[in-house]
């Protein structure tokens, strides 16, 4: 006999004209109702046997509020999608050879793909190995299935240049900060600091916009505006706390 919870959830979903799920199960250990949804049924908008992230969130909330029932949506790939991914990973494996790590895909909507590729090479220099090269290959392949590539996440040991926010934060912590100190703090935090003149140029732009000042001795400090705009909070990792710790360590 089906449990009364499952019956209730089923009734509720059918009242809401929900017909996108493949299966419905009650998890005995915590009385959670699990709703299995193939990703091919998830669209940007609701309609014609399709649901959306937003609708799922609303159904979950309403069921809890109106009936006190907990449900969880589990989105899974369809068989066809799995085959597409297998082919794609084989293609990339062939292209990247020993630089190929892992390859995954997610289909947030039926005809849209997000791809993750873990490449084991710091700078993908040659054309066949470049991010652009990989992206073109993926696009061409997906097009055969009428799937559009929305996001490609190539992650490797490659470091990123710091954003303006990061620069302000570092100067706030170290102020008054010499160029070399800023550079080594950024490197220590895992950022790429670019070509020799990159950092100076960037700081100069921020100075002209009024976020920071360059003092006579060449060190940098934040302006009142810069200080106000730098993220801070009650977190342990907050810039206020890191600043205090830095001052504590500094020998006067």
């Amino acid at each position: 006999m089906e449990s009364s919870k499952l019956v209730k959830v089923r009734e509720f979903l059918s009242q809401r004209h929900v017909n996108f799920l493949t299966d419905l199960r009650l998890r005995a250990s915590d009385e959670m109702v699990l709703v299995y949804v193939p990703s091919s049924q998830v669209g940007k908008n609701v309609g014609k046997g399709k649901t959306s992230k937003r609708q799922m969130a609303r159904l979950k909330k309403d069921l809890k509020k109106q009936h006190g029932l907990d449900i969880e949506f589990l989105i899974h790939k369809s068989k066809g999608e799995e085959q597409v991914v297998t082919g794609l990973c084989a293609l990339l494996g062939k292209r990247l050879g020993r630089y190929m790590g892992e390859c995954f895909a997610s289909f947030p909507e039926e005809d849209i793909a997000e791809i993750w590729v873990d490449a084991k090479q710091p700078v993908l220099s040659s054309e066949a190995l470049s991010v652009e090269g990989i992206e073109t290959a993926i696009r061409d392949y997906l097009q055969l299935f009428n799937i559009r590539l929305r996001g490609l996440h190539v992650s490797g040991p490659e470091k990123e240049l710091p954003s303006n926010v990061v620069l302000l934060r570092v100067i706030k912590i170290l102020a008054p900060a010499e160029l070399d100190e800023i550079r080594s703090k950024l490197e220590g935090d895992g950022f790429d600091v670019g070509l020799p003149k990159w950092l100076e140029g960037k700081l100069d732009i921020l100075r002209k916009e009024g976020f920071l000042l360059r003092q006579k001795d060449g060190s940098y400090v934040l302006t009142d505006v810069g200080l106000r705009l730098t993220p801070h909070g009650a977190f342990r990792s907050s810039s206020d706390i890191e600043r205090a710790l830095f001052l504590g360590r500094k020998k006067w």
Partner: protein, 166 residues
């Protein structure tokens, strides 16, 4: 955890008795879930150590609500004062949406299977052309949960760092 899972699934593949295949197979699913959980917890510690103690079942919601909200707020703020460009803001937003959603959905599925593996012995590991499966998950896919979680976590931390929150 990952290596334990790999060893258990190797054993499952070489076992002849259905009963033993099931025993090794379901334990492998359990270990693969824990591998994913531990990577996620490490990420949570780096984001804000208070989040590291979140109970397993609540982690997907924490990711989708609290953490997504916190990051979106920071993006909005930085964009408003022209500290980051519109382009960068929309790039961060897209990356956060995708990676947090992917991670939370993966954890929900992995947790669901882990519960079956541990508490519902009547539901057995089955074998077909795709290899071993429990519920809707294949052991082959479970083996890769950890890698997927790592990739998502890396992207989330990257955005978090660029926004100057850490």
């Amino acid at each position: 955890m990952q290596v334990v899972g790999d060893k258990l699934s190797e054993w499952a593949y070489t076992e002849k008795e259905d009963r033993d295949v099931d025993a090794f197979g379901r334990s492998a699913f359990n270990r693969y879930y824990y591998a994913s959980y531990l990577i996620t917890r490490q990420m949570l510690t780096e984001l804000d150590s208070r989040w590291a103690r979140t109970p397993h079942l609540n982690i997907p919601n924490l990711l989708e609500k609290t953490i997504t909200g916190r990051i979106r707020k920071e993006i909005r703020r930085s964009e408003k004062v022209n500290l980051i460009t519109k382009g960068a803001a929309s790039h961060y937003r897209a990356s956060i949406n995708t990676n947090l959603f992917e991670l939370s959905n993966l954890l929900r599925r992995a947790y669901a299977v882990r519960i079956i593996a541990d508490y519902e012995p009547d539901r057995k590991v089955t074998r077909d052309a795709r290899g071993f499966s429990l519920d809707i998950e294949t052991l082959q896919a479970a083996k890769n949960w950890g890698n997927r979680v790592s990739l998502c976590a890396k992207e989330i931390l990257k955005v978090w760092k660029q926004l100057g929150i850490v």
